[in-house]
Symmetry: C2
Subunit: 117 residues, 2 copies
Amino acid sequence: MPVDRLSATFAALADPTRRAILARLALSDTSVTELAEPFDMSLPAVSKHLKVLERAGLITRGREAQWRPCRIEPDALRGVDDWLERYRRLWEERLDRLDAYLQTLQAKEKKHRHSPA
Amino acid sequence: MPVDRLSATFAALADPTRRAILARLALSDTSVTELAEPFDMSLPAVSKHLKVLERAGLITRGREAQWRPCRIEPDALRGVDDWLERYRRLWEERLDRLDAYLQTLQAKEKKHRHSPA
C-alpha cells in the first residue's frame, strides 16, 4: 500500500534528529557535512535521515556536484497546518468554555462577598 | 531510549486510520464498537490503533465498565501547533516574497504598455 503524503510527512517528523535538521535548515541551506557536525553523527547516518525528509518532500537537495546543499521546503508543512485546522477549533472552544466557567466562578465569589454575613 | 512526546504524537498521526478515528472523535465521544463500524475493521485492530493514540495522549478512555467511550484530547495537538510556528513564518515569508515579485512584474508590464512603441 503506498503511503499517503500526510502519513509520510508525520512519519518523517516523528524523530527528534530529523526535526533538529529541519530547524537548522530553517536558518539557511547547508551542506551534509556541515549538518552532521553539531549532531556528532556519521555522514551515512545523517544521509539516511535526509533521505526520509527528502522523500516526504520536506527538503530538497541541490544538484551541484561538489556542494549539494540541503534546503527546507516549508510548503510541505502546510498540509500538517491544514490538517490541524479543525482540531485548533476544538481546543479554542475548550478554552472558551473554561474561560466562561471561570467567569461564573468569579461572579459567584463576588456575589458571596457582597451578601450580608 | 524513551520516545519524546512530540515524536510519539507525530508517529501516532502517521496513519490514515488513526487520523480518521480522531476526525470521528472530534464530532463526539464514541464507543469502540461504534468506532469500528465505518472502518470495516475488527475490534482488536481498532483497539490497537486506540492504544497508540492513547499512549500519545491524543485520546482518553472512559472508566465505565460497560461503555468505555473514547474521547479526543485536542490539547495534545497543541505541541504540534507550537512546533509548526517557526515554519509557518518561513512559508509566509516566501509568499510575501512571491507577492512582491509578482507586483514588480505587473509594474514592469504596465510601464511597458504605456511606453511609446
